[in-house]
Structures are given as structure tokens and as C-alpha cells.
């Protein structure tokens, strides 16, 4: 029994030409794997992002003494609240111009989750004044939280505005 001929026997031309073409394809692939570049954000611009999660108020009322008496002792909470939360009103001005204004609906199938905000603004580098207003309770006569930031944005810089529900304040990253 003779051993099978090696695969390259009589295939020098195919190995040379086919190998050259395959190498050319590999090099073209390598080039296209990193070039040409993509300009995602214009040179000289930076990015401001507004992102936070905050729950709007729920409509509540005090239970009457009769209602409380009708409840088992362990369920006698003083207030009765709707499950759904109110939308959160958010307004953002950049350099005196409105950049974002919306009533952000609560999340969840029953509208019982927090309102979520994520917005991205591409801005030219330089100084900017950002003003924020938020109203999380429709019963309140005015905005419940306000903030103003003077931001010095460098080219390629990313600045984020978040909200801390425990302190009730907006803050910068």
C-alpha cells in the first residue's frame, strides 16, 4: 500500500498564485478593519449628557376614620395612593435656548416606575451656561427642582448631568 500523495504535489503554481491572492485579500481585510476612520463627533466639539432616573409623585389622599376602621390592623396606612405616578416635567436650556423640554412618562406597564431621562447634546468647545428645571409633582405650583451650571467644555470632553434623589439636587460628572 502506497501513502497518499501530499496535497501540494504538483500544485506549486496554485500555492504561489493562490497564496499571493489570499495574502492580498488578508491585507485588504486588515486595512478595512481599521480604516478609513469615522468622525463620530466633530473636531472641536464636546458632548453634554443629561441622564437621571427619578420617580414622579403619586396622587394620594388621607383615609377616613371609617376606612381605617374597616381595614385589618396591619394594613391601616394613613394614606391611599394611586399606583400610577405622574410624569416628570424636565426642561433644559443651553446658553439661554431651550434644548430639551418634555413630560417624561413613568416606566412600567402600570406607569408605576420611575421616569428615565437620557439625552445627548453635541456642543462646540467653550463656555456654556446650562439651566435645568424639573417638576415631579403636578400638584406643586412651580418647578420642584432647579439648577444652573457654568460648563467650560474642552474639545472631546464629555460632561454629564445627573440627579441625586436623596439630596434632591442635580450634579455634574
Amino acid at each position: 500500500m502506497t501513502a497518499p500523495a501530499p496535497f501540494w504535489r504538483g500544485r506549486v503554481r496554485h500555492l504561489a498564485l493562490g497564496g499571493t491572492l489570499t495574502l492580498a485579500l488578508t491585507l485588504a481585510t486588515a486595512a478595512l478593519s481599521a480604516w478609513p476612520g469615522w468622525q463620530s463627533v466633530a473636531e472641536g466639539d464636546g458632548v453634554l449628557r443629561l441622564s437621571f432616573t427619578h420617580s414622579g409623585a403619586r396622587a394620594c389622599r388621607d383615609r377616613t376614620p371609617e376606612e381605617l376602621a374597616a381595614l385589618p390592623r396591619n394594613m391601616r396606612t394613613a394614606q391611599l395612593c394611586e399606583r400610577a405616578r405622574s410624569p416628570v416635567r424636565v426642561e433644559l436650556d443651553i446658553d439661554g435656548r431651550s434644548a430639551f423640554a418634555a413630560d417624561v412618562n413613568p416606566s412600567g406597564l402600570a406607569d408605576s416606575g420611575p421616569s428615565r431621562v437620557y439625552r445627548r447634546f453635541e456642543l462646540p468647545a467653550g463656555s456654556h451656561v446650562v439651566r435645568l428645571r424639573m417638576q415631579d409633582d403636578p400638584a406643586a405650583p412651580d418647578f420642584t427642582q432647579t439648577a444652573a451650571f457654568a460648563i467650560d467644555l474642552a474639545p472631546g470632553q464629555s460632561v454629564a448631568i445627573d440627579f441625586d434623589a436623596t439630596t434632591g439636587r442635580f450634579f455634574l460628572y
Binding site: 496554485h14 485579500l25 478593519s33 472631546g156 460628572y173
Partner: protein, 528 residues
């Protein structure tokens, strides 16, 4: 053939002929796209496992470990990284070329829908594998991909809070994020492998390995290319900045510039529409196919040659049901049979010489039974005249697909029982028989070329009998763009046959056979 598919098919055929020269038909990469995809997957998997040894999960560690392996250990780990990336990119290229070629070859609908439909998820798993891989490097490109991807995902509104918040500022990024990404980058390729396996389930002996020569060429080219142009990271990710200009991998991340340029809804609806369209293509429109092969137990002894030769896993051996003294019979799954007729060509009962009663065989095509094929051969042969008469048995997907004098067009040339060639010559129907199959590099019905070649070389049952003079048999493998070459080879064959002495011991067709042939020819004309 007309229309965009036919034009694309001819385009592929021409490109493949060009590549036949430097590679040879058996190593032609365009004829090996599926096996190449598998080979590239294994390269990516092997290099990925190797890279995992050196990769650290952590906000700072990820980038540092990738830099370390790329720069300090470029000769093994850095090489593995480059191979990992370039093989992934080539896999995308091979995958889409494969998809386009199968569409052009019309091998995606009718009873071949399964392979097409199961290939669609493969596309997305390849992309998801690539995208999660780019996150792991945690360079500027990774940051760009992470932020763009999560911002797009957040538009679905299905997450408890925007996942893009994870990339809002440096303190918000957790090392657990990298653990999650490593998990995804392992789990998704495993699902990809599962889909690739399912993708090949409805064909027999799926080719999952390219020819050794092509595999060596591909691997060597990848290694040399990786050493010449090593894959490198971009600057380290920094969430206090935003990547302004990034080097994009246009194979895997080509959708990202589009994601940034159009509203998210356009992307999601576009992806959905593209996916639904791809899934639905086999039925837009579907293909009317001939009836599936039928088994005739009176002529089947369960020899299993048709089981071994069926390219589509459509025939199985089952216990005998008719009480005859054979242990098995064959059973055809009509949902898988594409009516290529290869089983009929493989059946030892498919002998056109038999004269006792009507001509039947063990497994036959209801739309083109052996009796009709014999009658067509007789009618076609009797119409030949002059010296060097050539009867051509041509594949409907190759250069001989069109009707021509002296030509019988078949769904696959392997549908021809070798005894039919013996019959045509020994009964004086032709001075020689030409078998004109589709291109050697990739048979339309997968094994038509291989089985025909092996049967003629007496390496696979049923053999072409020794008594058939080989100088009177010609095989031509030519694609749809090569009718001129086919014509030239047939003319040269006819000229050679004209030089030969008359075939001895010819037993001419009798009147009864001629009448049958005429009736069959009329039936075929009426059917058309």
C-alpha cells in the same frame, strides 16, 4: 436564463473561472465558501481561547492586558489577536458572499429552504460575537461601540433604567461589566456554533472543512498578514471624554455610522425588515419543483446505494415492509427531496437494457422516470446523423442547460445510470456520449460531479462497465458562462469519434422501442 439572479450567477461563474487558474478548481475559494466559513470560525475560536488566558477583566486591567499581549508578547499572543480579528472579518466577507452566491445559484428555496432560513440567525450571531469582542478591548473604539450600542438599545425602552448610564462617567463603570461582556462573548459564539450545526443538518456529508491546500493557504496568508499589519488598540477608553474620530472595522461595525446618522426607529425597523425579508426570500416566490423520488419495492433490494448517494439526506434505510426476503428497504422524505435524480442513477435496477415488461427501477422520479429518460435518449440518438455522432447528457445548471440537437438535459448528470451510456453506444444511438456537468468547483446538486467521476472511474457503484470504450465517453465540467468551451469540446470530440472505426456488435433499436421513444418524446413536448 434572464433577470438579476441569472446575471449575478453568470458574474459569479466568470469570477470563479478566473480564480480557477490561480487556485485550481478544487481549491477555488468561491466554491468553498461554506467550508471556509467553518475554518475561519475555528481559527477565531482557537485564538479566542488562547487570548482568554491573558485577558484581565477590569476597568483598567482589560486595556492593559490587551496592550501587554499585543506589544510585549506580539509574537504569540499579539499574533493570536490579529488572527482573531482578521479571521472574524473574513468570516463576515465569506458569509455574505456565500449568501449572495446561494441566492444567485437558486439553491435557497423549494425544498432547500431549510439551509437558507437557518443561515439567517447565523448572520446576527456573527455580528453580535464581533461587537461584544470589540467591547472587551476597552479602547476608544470599544467606548464608542459601547455607548452607541447602549444608546440604541435604550430606545427600545425595555430596560429598568438606561443602560447607557453605565458609561456616563468613569465612576459609574463597574468591573463586573467586563465579566458580563466576557460571558456574552463566549455564550454568543457558542450559539453561533449551534446555529451553524443546524444550518448543515439537511444535507448529507456537509463540507465543514475546506480542502487541505486551501486551508493551508488561508492560514498562512492570515499569519503573514497578521505579522505585517498587526491588530492594535486605539487610545484607552476614558468616559470623561468622547471618542471623536475612531478607526472602524468596516466588516463588523459598518452599521455604527448609520446608527449615528438616522433615527433609532429607522435602524430597528430596518433590521426587522431585513431579517423578515431574508427569512421570507425562499417564498418570494417559491419554486415549483418536480415530484419527489418514489420507491418501487418490487425493484428495490435495500442495497442502500441511493441512501449513500443522496446529497440531501432525503433517503433512509428502514426495515422491510413487503415480506420479501431482504432486511431493508428505502424510504424517501418528500420534504427534503429536490428531485435531482441522483438516486435513480445510483440504483442498480436502473438498467435501460431490461426488456421484460415496462421499464421500472427501484427508485424513480415521477416527473422524469427512467423509462422516459431511455425513450428520450433513443429519440435524441435516432435524430443524430453523419460521422462522429455525439449524444450529450447535460446538466440543467451548467453550460449545456439550453436545448440543442443531440442533447438531453437533466436536473443532474449523476441522474444518468452508467448503463445508459453503455446502452446509447452499444445500441448504435451515438458514436460517443458526452456528459456535460456543471462547473467542477461546485456542483449544483453537491455530489453530481463527484459521483459521476467515481462511477466512470469504477470507484463507486454503479460502475461504468469495462466494455464501454473510454475514448467514446467525454466528460466536460463547465459553468453557465462557458457554452463556447462546451461547444468546442463537443466539436473536437465529434471529430475524434469520426476517426474511429464503427462500434462493433451494435444491436440497433427495434421498432417497438422506437415507437415507445417517439411516444415519450411527444409526451415531453406536451408536458412543456
Amino acid at each position: 436564463m434572464a433577470g438579476p439572479r441569472a446575471a449575478l450567477r453568470r458574474g459569479f461563474d466568470r469570477a470563479e473561472r478566473l480564480l480557477d487558474r490561480p487556485f485550481g478548481p478544487d481549491w477555488n475559494p468561491l466554491g468553498q465558501l461554506g467550508p471556509l466559513g467553518w475554518f475561519l470560525f475555528w481559527i477565531v475560536a482557537a485564538t479566542g481561547i488562547y487570548l482568554f488566558i491573558f485577558f484581565d477583566t477590569g476597568v483598567v486591567d482589560a486595556y492593559a492586558s490587551v496592550e501587554w499581549l499585543s506589544r510585549d508578547h506580539w509574537w504569540h499572543a499579539g499574533l493570536a489577536r490579529s488572527l482573531h480579528r482578521y479571521a472574524s472579518d473574513l468570516m463576515v466577507l465569506v458569509m455574505f458572499t456565500h449568501l449572495l452566491r446561494e441566492w444567485a445559484m437558486d439553491r435557497y428555496r423549494g425544498r432547500r429552504w431549510f439551509s437558507w432560513v437557518t443561515g439567517v440567525p447565523v448572520i446576527w450571531f456573527v455580528y453580535l460575537s464581533g461587537i461584544t469582542g470589540y467591547w472587551l478591548v476597552w479602547d476608544e473604539l470599544a467606548q464608542y461601540v459601547a455607548v452607541t450600542t447602549t444608546e440604541l438599545l435604550d430606545t427600545l425602552g425595555i430596560f429598568a433604567e438606561p443602560i447607557a448610564r453605565n458609561f456616563l462617567a468613569p465612576p459609574l463603570l463597574s468591573g463586573r461589566f467586563f465579566t458580563l461582556m466576557v460571558f456574552l462573548h463566549i455564550a454568543i459564539p457558542l450559539l453561533l456554533l449551534l446555529m451553524m450545526w443546524i444550518h448543515t443538518q439537511r444535507i448529507t456529508s456537509a463540507r465543514t472543512n475546506p480542502p487541505r491546500g486551501l486551508a493551508v493557504l488561508t492560514l498562512v496568508a492570515l499569519v503573514v498578514g497578521s505579522l505585517l499589519v498587526p491588530a492594535v488598540s486605539q487610545g484607552p477608553a476614558d468616559l470623561a471624554t468622547v471618542p471623536q474620530r475612531v478607526g472602524i472595522d468596516w466588516f463588523i461595525l459598518s452599521l455604527y455610522p448609520l446608527i449615528e446618522s438616522v433615527p433609532a426607529g429607522v435602524i430597528w425597523w430596518g433590521v426587522l425588515a431585513f431579517t423578515v425579508l431574508l427569512f421570507g426570500i425562499p417564498w418570494l416566490p417559491g419554486r415549483r419543483e418536480a415530484g419527489a423520488a418514489e420507491v418501487f419495492l418490487d425493484y428495490c433490494n435495500g442495497c442502500s446505494r441511493c441512501v449513500a448517494d443522496c446529497p440531501y439526506n432525503a433517503i433512509t434505510l428502514v426495515p422491510r415492509s413487503d415480506g420479501l426476503s431482504f432486511s431493508h428497504e428505502v424510504e424517501v422524505n418528500p420534504a427534503r427531496c429536490v428531485a435531482c435524480g441522483i438516486c435513480m442513477g445510483a440504483c442498480p435496477s436502473s438498467s435501460p437494457f431490461r426488456r421484460s415488461g415496462d421499464l421500472h427501477t427501484g427508485i424513480d422520479l415521477p416527473g422524469r422516470p427512467l423509462a422516459q429518460l431511455r425513450a428520450e435518449v433513443i429519440a435524441t440518438g435516432q435524430a443524430l446523423s453523419g460521422p462522429g455522432r455525439v449524444l450529450t447528457l447535460a446538466c440543467a445548471h451548467g453550460a449545456g442547460a439550453g436545448e440543442a440537437p443531440g442533447r438531453v438535459v437533466l436536473p443532474c448528470v449523476a441522474m444518468t445510470p452508467p448503463s445508459l451510456i453503455d446502452f446509447a453506444i452499444s445500441r448504435g444511438l451515438a458514436d460517443g456520449v458526452a456528459v456535460a456537468g456543471c462547473a467542477e468547483r461546485d456542483c449544483f446538486n453537491r455530489f453530481g460531479h463527484a459521483w459521476t467521476t467515481a462511477r466512470f472511474a469504477r470507484e463507486r457503484d454503479p460502475y461504468l462497465r469495462q466494455r464501454v470504450p473510454r475514448e467514446r465517453v467525454l466528460t466536460v465540467w463547465a459553468g453557465p458562462s462557458e457554452p463556447a468551451r462546451l461547444r468546442a469540446e463537443l466539436d473536437a470530440f465529434a471529430a475524434r469519434l469520426a476517426e474511429l472505426p464503427a462500434f462493433p456488435n451494435v444491436r440497433p433499436i427495434d421498432e417497438e422501442e422506437a415507437a415507445e421513444a417517439e411516444a415519450a418524446a411527444l409526451r415531453r413536448v406536451a408536458a412543456k
